[in-house]
Symmetry: C2
């Protein structure tokens, strides 16, 4: 049954990662990274997707986050057989909770794996992450919102719920409310070249920026000259404001995600610009993290994720310790 990854390269990458983390292992000839020791008292949460988004998702395998992550080829979802293998590996009888991102190819593979797992009598619940708000009627992605960096908030909050012994039904309930409360928008200064291809996925001249980009090199809703990080922050915060409909003194969780090749200095300059704008808006930022969480290879892009604090336990769960190295 077990499917061998097409490329040796993905397996080599996963082996490189597990060399740096003694708490996890790669299941040979799969794209699966999982905890060496599963805790039977914890409902396992798994996630996965195409490679090229590292540290997502294997970097989030750890106590209080994921029990396993499944990597596919570059920008291709894992095969359903690999997902099924991961489900079987982590299932301890209390069910398995699956976090998937909203892309057609991902949904097809995850749905098939979930159907097969349920046919084996397993309890499987899942959530589809769909936080990207950059999609509008003028481009090809109008049908639904893509799952991007905000997915990592699901990993952390649901992972901590599981760690605290909550049931799969309770985890699903939290997931439903949380997944509809997360909003992300990003931009990039460079297009991305997929390894083995000789030109970028879309054309972006030096000095231009693309707004509302995806995580697979999809171009955004508008391309324009890059003015400054402050100007960029303003553009993206305005889009989030329209979507979130926030009011003065609202409390928010903020993630700023480096999509790969953005320098750390620009990343923190951008963070400062975002914080200044949110202060002007009288938004109370109760949690903020700025990091490479979900990348698109070496794309020089950045995204902002915002989520209203609807429950204080969301904050508690976000702030709880985890040994997942990428959090």
């Amino acid at each position: 049954m077990k499917v061998v990854l097409k490329s040796k390269q993905i397996e080599s990458m996963l082996n490189g990662f597990v060399a740096t983390n003694e708490k996890v292992e790669v299941l040979p000839k799969t794209g699966i990274v999982c905890l060496k020791k599963q805790d039977a008292a914890v409902v396992p949460i798994i996630s996965g997707g195409g490679s090229g988004h590292e540290p997502a998702h294997f970097g989030f395998v750890g106590k209080g986050m994921l029990s396993a992550a499944i990597s596919g080829e570059i920008f291709e979802p894992p095969h359903y057989e690999d997902i099924l293998t991961a489900i079987r590996k982590v299932d301890q009888g209390r069910g398995v909770f699956v976090i998937e991102k909203n892309f057609d190819a991902d949904l097809a593979m995850f749905s098939k794996a979930i159907t097969l797992a349920r046919a084996e009598g397993r309890i499987i619940r899942y959530i589809v992450s769909h936080d990207d708000i950059s999609v509008d009627s003028t481009n090809n992605y109008e049908v639904r919102h893509r799952g991007v960096a905000g997915t990592i908030l699901l990993h952390k909050i649901l992972g901590e719920a599981a760690q605290r012994g909550q049931s799969i039904t309770e985890i699903e309930r939290i997931a439903f409310e949380l997944s509809t409360s997360i909003f992300t928008i990003g931009a990039t200064k460079s297009a991305v070249t997929i390894p083995g291809q000789d030109c970028p996925v879309f054309q972006l001249p030096q000095g231009e920026i693309s707004l509302g980009i995806g995580i697979h090199g999809e171009s955004g809703y508008r391309q324009e000259p890059f003015v400054s990080l402050e100007y960029l922050a303003n553009e993206l915060i305005n889009k989030l404001k329209i979507r979130c409909r926030w009011k003065k003194n609202d409390a928010y969780i903020v993630l700023i995600n480096n999509l790969g090749g953005f320098s750390e200095s620009d990343q923190f300059l951008f963070t400062n610009a975002v914080m200044n704008l949110l202060e002007l808006e009288d938004i109370e930022v109760q949690f903020i993290k700025t990091k490479k969480l979900l990348t698109s290879l070496d794309m020089q892009g950045i995204s902002i994720t915002m989520c209203p604090v609807k429950h204080t336990y969301w904050l508690d769960f976000l702030k709880a310790d985890t040994d997942a190295p990428a959090w």
Copy 2:
């Protein structure tokens, strides 16, 4: 006395960082990030250098690592007045230990600050990090070895020694032995463009790689077509082997440092290649970390740092918990 940073930009970057870390603060109008709460039982360790190397050094301020970090302008060391201000801020009477990198401009500023601090009756000890082995007689840096990513091993091991209550004399003794045991070499696929300048510091055509580069865009000892990550790992490990003179079954600490714009997938592929080569050499890797530790803006480069395990407490100190976010 206090020196205002020339550019508002550095202060904005530091403010962006401290927004994400509630345990540290920026001293206004300086390049200093320090712990809000100093522990009087701990000898404070400070470090600093030019900006453009983020997360070095402010990302390493935390319990068990640095008490303060001082940032200068991009690729320029902090002014001695800022270093002196940091020393005064953290000094609790047990002395202050300073970690500086081996560059003329850095040494001049740190030496002046240390001299002034000692004239105030303070106990100051320091170490100069000089781990770069890429320097040879054919380039401009022949006089001495630069301080690069291996500096972070000093932050961690000395920081933990301080955390465990060791005296400044004991910390200095560890520093002397450790600093001469750390060896680093790096390479890059792209040159770096300093913000505000319109062309890269050196010319590197697409598809070429520069071996033995510095962290300020200095070109390396050789430029050649990029073949593969495995080939690159082999070239750099061979250079390290010559310098380290290792024998079969020797135990080593390994850091693989992403210099900024290297993708995470390539970073872990490279890590895997390095681990395979070290296995062939019968080197026992007892600690490995792969991360952005000390960057050169968005340079698509990577470096390997190796350090023989001369004492098991070096490993214990490396593995100890810290809340410094960049470790």
